[in-house]
């Protein structure tokens, strides 16, 4: 008997295939898991100018016209690509039934508008026009830093240029850091593959990449590695378009939950982890991040129940981007889009799953 057969001996489904198929065919559509009572606000704008798009949409404007107005008709291919990309990602999110109807990127973010389908009696409470921001996230492992951010800083019909930053936890003052980019060479502009950066405030490294669009296919860097003198190395496996659902702001304060999370886990609250989110109606919502200590692999519980640090539209006063708005996300380990389970806004822990 082969090891395969041995190993999976007894590891078989309970139902036979016919029962299994019938249960799928006869199943109801998944129900929305977010209580309508918890949804009191929506449409968090991810970049300057999108408030106009939201307003336009709310007024009955045509999506395409709105985006063409903002980003120009030449960006049609990019928009189509982003819509396709976002749709694929969003297909894997099962707590809402929605279609991606428009997407665009500007120098401050990648933006997606999704149309949430009213269901299960939620049509009155749930806004049908929800603007969901779509952020670039970074997958990495063996990280020695607490967060990273990526943002598009330029795009045309042919290419998109993005900036990646990594914020290490360690004190790296005075160290020379190199950023190496590997992978498909067409992704990188010559002369920009190695780029060390240190500001003295914020301590981050930065690398820039330019991506080509070939038809509707957007490829991501296969690997990004940097090595610091502190002895650590981490790899950014890939860059993905990741939807962060900041559309639901809890009606009821869950500050107790937040406190219990704090008590349960180590966290590192520093300057890079405090942020503000600006909603489309101009409200300022403060938020705080909780960062797991992933280096302590003995604490396996961390792998199962992490809180994601999401920073949307915070003002960066460090380095050469003084005063610019950035979008940032922090992960505790390599993560899939579906791993995103919660965000914290104004002390309210929002469970997304």
């Amino acid at each position: 008997m082969s090891i395969y057969k041995d190993y999976f001996s007894g590891i078989t489904p309970e139902k036979d295939n016919r029962q299994f198929i019938d249960s799928i065919i006869n199943a109801e559509k998944p129900k929305m898991k977010i209580s309508p009572k918890k949804i009191t606000a929506a449409a968090v704008a991810a970049a300057t100018g999108l408030a106009a798009a939201v307003t336009g949409y709310a007024s009955g404007w045509d999506y395409g016209a709105v985006f063409n107005q903002i980003f120009g008709e030449k960006s049609a291919n990019l928009q189509n690509h982003l819509v396709a990309e976002a749709t694929e990602v969003c297909d894997d999110i099962d707590h809402l039934d929605f279609d991606v109807v428009a997407a665009a990127a500007d120098r401050q973010g990648v933006l997606v508008i999704v149309d949430v389908k009213p269901q299960n009696g939620l049509s009155e409470e749930l806004p049908t026009d929800i603007l969901d921001d779509l952020h670039f996230g970074i997958y990495y492992e063996d990280s020695h830093r607490s967060s990273a951010s990526i943002r598009p800083i330029e795009y045309t019909e042919e290419k998109i240029r993005v900036s990646i930053r990594a914020y290490p936890n360690e004190n790296i003052a005075g160290e020379k850091i190199s950023v190496y980019a590997h992978g498909k060479s067409k992704w990188y502009e010559s002369g920009k593959d190695n780029l060390g950066y240190y500001t003295g405030y914020g301590n981050y490294w930065r690398a820039e990449f330019t991506a080509d669009f070939e038809g509707n296919e957007l490829e991501y860097p296969a690997d990004l590695t940097y090595t610091g003198n502190y002895g650590g190395t981490f790899h950014i496996d890939r860059i993905v378009v990741t939807p962060i659902s900041v559309y639901a702001i809890g009606e009821k304060s869950n500050s107790k939950d937040l406190l219990s999370v704090k008590e349960e886990y180590d966290y590192n609250l520093d300057q890079t982890n405090t942020f503000a989110v600006t909603s489309s109606n101009g409200a300022l919502l403060e938020s705080y991040a909780i960062t797991d200590n992933v280096e302590n692999t003995d604490k396996k519980e961390y792998d199962k129940d992490k809180i994601i640090d999401f920073r949307g539209m915070f003002t960066d006063y460090s380095g050469e981007n003084n005063g610019e708005d950035l979008i940032s996300m922090s992960f505790n380990e390599p993560i899939n889009p579906e791993d995103i389970t919660a965000v914290v806004i104004s002390g309210t822990l929002i469970e997304l799953k």
């Binding site: 190993y7 590891i11 297909d91 099962d94 890939r238 692999t297 899939n336």
Partner: protein, 155 residues
């Protein structure tokens, strides 16, 4: 997707995805649910796949994602795991039991890589394509996974 197409895909992939879910979660009691969710998505999937391999890769990726969701659920952690032998009518050797226990100790992200490589025969490059991670990450996980398994089994 038609009912007939669903039947074909269930015949073709269900058992493999079930084993993948088990390898990833180490919990037999959730595998049926995970695979059911995956096939639900396939059934309601509106797009088309470039190839059969593309569809298989999509199913694998979805299974891994759903498995990760299950393993991190607080609710799930409170559940009592079913004894694996409840489903089994065969005698399982001590070595296999030890290997199963060892695989459960691997970190998330490692188990599926081990499964796809050693049980399904995928290369590191193919696994990278399927899971959307770099080949170097796959290689790293394979190496570390092997080390961790060895260490566990030696103990």
């Amino acid at each position: 997707m038609t009912e007939k197409e669903l039947e074909n895909d269930v015949e073709k992939y269900r058992a493999m995805l079930f084993r993948l879910a088990y390898s990833t979660t180490g919990d037999l009691s959730v595998c049926d649910d995970i695979v059911w969710e995956v096939f639900m998505k396939l059934y309601s999937h509106k797009g088309s796949f470039d190839s059969e391999n593309g569809k298989k890769a999509w199913l694998i990726r979805l299974t891994v994602n759903h498995s990760h969701n299950h393993t991190k659920s607080r609710w799930l952690r409170k559940r009592t795991e079913l004894s694996e032998t409840e489903h089994s009518h065969e005698i399982i050797s001590d070595d296999i039991i030890a290997l199963r226990e060892a695989l459960k100790t691997l970190k998330k992200g490692y188990r599926e890589v081990i499964f796809l490589h050693y049980f399904e025969g995928y290369t590191a490059a193919e696994i990278g394509e399927i899971l959307k991670i770099s080949q170097s990450a796959v290689t790293t996980r394979l190496q570390r996974g092997r080390r961790m398994l060895k260490r566990f089994l030696e103990e």
